[in-house]
């Protein structure tokens, strides 16, 4: 067997089977992210509501989901819950597993973003007669977005990759399909290099989109926005 098989490599690179896997990775990531955003926003607002029951529920959720591995959560949802009579198919399990997990992390990001907005902005919004939802929508969240978008973008990048964990519950995303392909075609290295390239293409395209989003939400903060975004990124890299 050759060390590296170029024709096989190019065949995999254009393989509809793998491309469809990559497409599954994309929509799995996008839908999970949307679920995570909705849950994250609700949880963050609950945490900041000051209403003890809501604060407790929100804390419990983030504590539990951030304190246990996603892999364990996915297996419990898909293989464990049927024991209790809750039967979810592969797609449902993957979306719920990834989305609910993501929501726990996103809620912390959104909470930090809201808390980064100065008290004076809350005072000004209230003094103008805005109620809580209006204040959040018109004044606070657009400003928090400036701080939230960079780490959120990083989470999306991360999710593109961690969605591969759904392969253990036989979700046919890119990694699973690559593994399936190795069962019939034995060029393991070529197949997984192609998978890596596909992941790289997806995360690179996302990087470009993320840059645009950051610029958009930084308007009115020309210089300072970019500084803040960079500081947040540096901080994340440092961790």
């Amino acid at each position: 067997m050759k060390a590296w098989d170029w024709p096989a490599f190019f065949e995999y690179l254009t393989s509809p089977f793998l491309m469809m896997g990559a497409w599954t990775t994309i929509w799995l990531t996008v839908v999970s992210m949307v679920i995570g955003l909705v849950l994250g926003l609700i949880t963050a607002l609950m945490r900041l509501s000051g209403i003890p029951v809501l604060v407790a529920i929100a804390r419990f959720y983030t504590w539990l989901w951030r304190g246990t591995p996603l892999l364990v959560q996915l297996i419990i949802i898909f293989t464990g819950l049927p024991q209790l009579g809750i039967r979810l198919n592969v797609v449902q399990s993957a979306l719920i597993g990834l989305g609910v997990n993501e929501g726990a992390y996103i809620s912390e990001i959104i909470r930090a973003g809201i808390q980064s907005v100065s008290r004076g902005q809350f005072d000004a919004a209230r003094a103008l007669g805005m109620n809580f939802p209006t204040m959040m929508r018109v004044v606070i969240l657009p400003q928090a977005a400036r701080v939230i978008i960079p780490p959120l973008g990083n989470n999306f990048n991360g999710l593109l990759k961690t969605s591969s964990l759904a392969s253990v519950i036989s979700m046919e995303e890119l990694l699973r399909r690559s593994q399936m392909l190795t069962q019939v075609q034995f060029r393991v290295l070529e197949i997984f290099v192609v998978a890596a390239i596909f992941y790289l293409i997806m995360t690179t395209i996302w990087g470009v989109i993320q840059g645009r989003l950051e610029n958009y939400f930084g308007r009115g903060h020309a210089a300072s926005a970019r500084r803040t975004a960079k500081a947040v990124l540096d901080e994340q890299d440092a961790r």
């Binding site: 000004a124 003094a127 103008l128 007669g129 805005m130 109620n131 009115g220 903060h221």
Partner: protein, 257 residues
């Protein structure tokens, strides 16, 4: 029974921050179209009093009525019951507030800053709100700045936009908390001019400021606060020329040249 009531009626108000007694049995009445300047040493409770008037801070005892209506509470069997956040928000529509740090919304340009509350709170039509915002920008002398974001404006310009933003809600009462304290000296006048103009148009105003020039020019009454109490109230002339209380004299000797 009389059907007229003052614009502001503060009765026996106490306010604590934890153990700190910040407002002590404060009584204050302000008539329609009156301009009241509040002065006093740092930490005497001036900002807190102002923030209680629009229920940004909750009072612990007493009552505050704005234009004859209890603010932040409703009375049930003679006892005050705090209103929900959204009902308090409705009360605040009639009360404009201008802050020391301007607090313009940095993600919105001048026009959008002014139109934001009319559109989102009063549900005003967007075009009408923008037209009104343009008029207000002209009123505060900044007709050419509608597209500018706060960070592109000087402090004095930001504060004038902030005044226009408060006026867009067509308030009955305007509260100013040290509106010129964060400004460079050369910008103070442009803001005070707008405020004097407003007072001449009959706006009821409560102004915390150390600008004695403004007090002399525009105030009907000066209120001196110290340690959470109103120590002395007088016309500007009496206040500056013939202060009665020892604490007032001491304070004036410290701030006047």
């Amino acid at each position: 029974m009389s059907t007229t009531y003052p614009m502001v009626r503060v009765e026996k108000v106490d306010k604590y921050f934890g153990d700190l007694h910040v407002l002590r049995n404060v009584d204050l009445e302000i008539q329609n179209s009156e301009v009241v300047v509040v002065i006093g040493p740092s930490g005497s409770g001036k900002s807190t009093l102002l923030r209680c008037l629009n229920h940004l801070e909750k009072i612990d005892h007493g009552r505050i009525e704005i234009d004859g209506r209890l603010i932040g509470y409703r009375e049930v069997n003679g006892r005050p019951l705090e209103l929900s956040e959204s009902q308090v928000a409705k009360h605040r529509r009639d009360i404009g507030m201008v802050f020391q740090q301007f607090n313009l919304f940095p993600h919105l340009n001048a026009l959008e800053n002014i139109a934001a509350a009319p559109i989102n709170v009063l549900k005003k039509d967007r075009n009408a709100a923008h037209a009104q915002a343009r008029e207000l920008l002209a009123l505060v002398g900044l007709p050419e700045k509608e597209q500018s974001y706060p960070e592109q404006l000087s402090g004095g310009q930001q504060q004038r936009v902030a005044i226009a933003r408060a006026l867009a809600m067509e308030p009955k009462l305007m509260l100013f908390d040290e509106p010129t304290s964060a400004l460079d000296p050369e910008m103070i006048k442009e803001v005070l001019d707008v405020m004097i103009d407003l007072s001449q148009k009959g706006m009821t105003m409560v102004v915390v400021t150390h600008e004695m020039g403004f007090a002399r020019a525009a105030a009907d009454r000066v209120v001196f606060m110290d340690e959470g109490q109103i120590v002395e109230e007088a016309t500007p002339e009496d206040f500056f020329e013939r202060p009665k209380h020892q604490r007032t004299k001491l304070f004036l000797s410290q701030i006047l040249p």
